[in-house]
Amino acid sequence: MPDAVKSIWEQNATPRHRIQWCPGCGDFAVLNALKAALTTLELTPSEVLLVGGIGCSGQIRNYLNGNSFYGTHGGALAYALGAKMANPELTVIALAGDGDTLAIGVENFVHISRRDPDITLLIMDNGVYGLTKGQDSPSAGLGKPVGVSVEEHPPMLDPVKLALTCGATFVAQSFSGDPKHTTEMLVEAVRHKGFALVNDFSPCVTYNKFNTYDWFRAHCEPVPASHDPAGEDAAWDLIRDFERRDKLPTGVIYRHPRTKAPAKRLPMSTTELEKVDLEPMLQGLR
């Protein structure tokens, strides 16, 4: 990455020495991948809106340049939806964790997959609530066999399968131990015209002692070149096949080129609001 370009994303950002992630956190690699992807996409910070979820992962919005919005736990996708509807020219990226997306924000994950707005969701998936010191998230238990479960610790919820079920049109998975691949996935996700999910395995070195870098290296396996992501059946077959073999697919699992009606940019700041003719609204009231 050329230094001159790299610096664009490092202006207006929390300096690296003040980043509040544990040394070795997978999110560092995600941050680099995100900057590299935005550079590849030739975007400028003012064209981007980063919407952070609550948790360690959501802090990423302040660690690089670009407009950002940070609201409530589980809300990132809904803010992103409204922002994109208001201004389709913005590149809107939601950056959240697995707890934020799959537990408290699962209502948004489900329905925004269905709505298919042209936004990207990057989940930094580590199986725990890191910022509150390591409680289980819905993706906890990844790779552990489900024998007897109890209500307090149910089996894991797979965001990839959930997204497919709910109608997401782009579903990809990556591992932050391979940031080049994460970058590629992000670039493809942002380019996709519709809701794009990148589930990135981003290990929590402090609280998840099971899903470690080594564990992910042993379990992640690229989607085979022969896989046709345009077919939904093929996507499900691929997921089942990897599950049977106790592996995690990385790459584009599903991509459906759904046609979307072009959205209009709402009248905004640059255009002064215009005086309007109320007659059409009065017609039905007489």
Binding site: N12, Y70, A86, L266, K275, V276, M281
Partner: protein, 624 residues
């Protein structure tokens, strides 16, 4: 003979009997004829089908002060069969419920298709009874049951000696059904004629020359609309510049969403039906953050779910207009009954301290005019602006002259930084200023980035817990409220002379009843000033206190149990208040207010509760 002055009530089984078909036809046709129709009290059932619904209309030829008391001049009962809700009362449910409110010498019209109803008691009071087999005429003679309401409308028009040449009805029918061919228009006109004939035969049989009530069109009526508060509010909001609206189905705010969905795309905007209450407010905040003038609407239960986002709007300083069409709570409460129980929720809801503004319109006209102010204040102060209406305003309808809606108000002026301004010095989303207002940058504007943050932050928008920075930021946000109080707060509306006699205080939809009560008290020789609030929060103590301390006693009238505005007044103005409270789902009737004022003025009541089994319950406390 009463001409152009009456209260009419139509009742029947909801959905089945088409109560609002008749009141809608009446409202529209009479508004066109230059009369004033007020349908502010709407008796919906909280189910879709099967329960009793009633819809009173006050018809006048000048603006009516209020919806009046419960007394009705003309009662129309549409029940043709057993009301599933009360099976023991075949086709007389409406009469049993409302007959006692008929004035002596009033008129009763009812659907007699399933037999006569015993009405001796009413007739003994001089009520003229017209059994009209409307459903039978529609079903048997016209082969179309649905026109039974037009039969009834025709009957009513004949009773009131209105539209004898079918001019008004024909024109409305042609506009509605003309495109589908003349058959439908003719069928409906025939139905109306049958209704007329049915009335005619009763008049002849009983030898009555008329009924003592008449409607006469005003010569050369000015154009008017018959409009609900929710519709007026949408028109005002779009005119002010709202281009993004999000809602979730909830009574009585759903019609805002429906009206927005129908109209805002025409003006380049979008309306979103959220998947839940939280998605709708969050999407609206996202849209506002991205630069659209945004609004949401809901009612109490929905607002409770959105409380978390009040703080997001306040701390990220993202403007948002939040309409709360209040209904009776708590929890699911009485979904189709009105109340004013959410004042504490909007002034205090949410953890932490949030800068916010609360406005409340008191009439349908103000739903239109004041929403403009709400949008403007949100744009300037970059915080949640609550707009408190209630079911009576939202779903109630009234005749409004079109000239009021055609004043041609300009949209609000956008308060956003331009690229040049941003480039002058490093852009700080939360720049500390004297007014507390920081320049807002819309993402996408070149030259800077906007770091909008719900975590406590520094001027740029980065997270901080630094004590000094925290204080600076909290003070900056709250300073906006001081700026608001200085520049934009408005005193309550005052009717009467300040400092003379009793002060009757209200807010929201109660104003018409308070003004009518004031007139009646004046006629009795009791001097009363009405002080009615529109700008509720931040509480404009400096503007309010002089009005209240001057009077003898402050009596606050509210539709809630506690007296929420009364509590706020006591806390801010340090003066005692007396309270008149009603929370039975029905609006204040002027006669009740008069009685309650007497209880306070003569008997020293500290609180008067209206509308229970004992219609007036008086509390006297020694420490007041």
């Amino acid at each position: 003979m009463k001409v152009n002055r009456m209260k009419l009530l139509v009742g029947g089984v909801q959905l089945r009997d088409g109560v609002s078909t008749i009141t809608d036809l009446f409202g529209r046709i009479l508004s066109r004829a230059g009369l004033q129709v007020m349908g502010l009290e709407r008796g919906f059932a909280s189910t879709i089908y099967g329960a009793h619904q009633y819809d009173p209309l006050v018809i006048t030829d000048g603006p009516a002060l209020s919806w009046g008391d419960e007394a009705i001049d003309i009662l129309v009962g549409l029940d043709y069969d057993v009301n599933p809700d009360v099976p023991e009362q075949p086709n007389r449910d409406t009469i049993l419920r409302h007959g006692r409110n008929l004035v002596d010498g009033g008129v009763l019209l009812y659907d007699s298709s399933t037999g006569p109803v015993p009405v001796e008691k009413l007739e003994a009071r001089g009520v003229r009874v017209f059994p009209i087999p409307a459903r039978q005429i529609a079903q048997r003679d016209l082969k179309k049951e649905v026109v039974k309401n037009v039969v009834m409308t025709g009957a009513l028009f004949r009773l009131l000696e209105f539209d004898s040449d079918e001019r008004w009805l024909r024109r409305l029918l042609e506009e509605r059904f003309g495109r589908k061919g003349p058959e439908l228009v003719n069928l409906n006109l025939e139905a109306a004629r049958r209704g007329r004939a049915a009335v005619e035969s009763v008049l002849t049989e009983r030898g009555w020359p008329g009924i003592g009530y008449r409607l006469t069109p005003v010569p050369q009526p000015a154009p008017a609309v018959y409009i609900a508060g929710n519709e007026a509010l949408v028109i005002g909001a779009i005119e002010a510049g709202v281009r993004f609206y999000a809602g979730y189905p909830i009574t009585p705010a759903s019609s805002i969403l429906e009206f927005m969905e129908r109209h805002v795309p025409r003006y380049g905007g979008r309306a979103l039906q959220g998947s839940n209450e939280r998605e709708s407010i969050r999407a609206a905040l996202g849209a506002s953050a991205a630069g659209a003038v945004s609004m949401i609407g809901t009612s109490g239960p929905g607002l409770s779910l959105k409380v978390e986002e009040f703080g997001v709007s306040g701390v990220t300083e993202t403007p948002l207009v939040i309409v709360d069409a209040m209904r009776a709570g708590p929890s699911t409460g009485m979904p189709t009954k009105s109340e004013q129980g959410d004042l504490f929720l909007v002034t205090g809801g949410g953890h932490g301290e949030i800068p916010r503004i609360v406005l409340a319109p008191s009439t349908i006209e103000e739903c239109y005019s004041l929403i403009h102010e709400a949008v403007r204040l949100a744009e300037i102060y970059q915080c949640p602006v609550f707009f408190l209406t209630d079911l009576n305003l939202s779903e109630g309808r009234i005749t409004v002259p079109e000239s009021l809606l055609r004043a041609g108000r300009p949209p609000v002026k956008r308060q956003v930084a331009t690229e040049d301004q941003v480039r002058e010095e490093r852009y700080l989303r939360y720049r500390v200023t004297d007014t507390g207002i920081s320049p807002r940058l819309i993402p996408g504007t070149r030259g800077g980035v906007s770091k909008m943050n719900s975590t406590e932050h520094d001027e740029f928008g980065f997270v901080t817990t630094d004590p000094a920075k925290r204080v600076a930021m909290m003070d900056k946000r709250m300073r906006k409220m001081a700026t608001y109080l200085q520049r934009d707060a408005r005193p309550p509306q005052v009717y009467g002379t300040v400092g003379k006699g009793l002060v009757l205080v209200g807010w929201g939809s109660t104003k018409p009843a308070l003004l009518e009560a004031q007139q009646r008290l004046k006629a009795e020789g009791l001097s009363v000033t009405v002080v009615h609030f529109t700008h509720l929060w931040p509480f404009p103590t400096h503007l309010v206190k002089p009005l209240l301390v001057a009077g003898e006693r402050v009596i606050v009238c509210e539709h809630n149990y506690m007296g929420q505005l009364a509590e706020i007044i006591q806390a801010h103005c340090l003066i005692p208040t007396r309270r008149v409270l009603k929370y039975n789902g029905r609006p204040f009737y002027p006669s009740e207010v008069v009685r309650a004022v007497h209880e306070v003025a003569r008997n020293g009541a500290t609180a008067v509760r209206l509308g229970g089994k004992e219609p007036v319950m008086v509390e006297v406390s020694s420490d007041a």
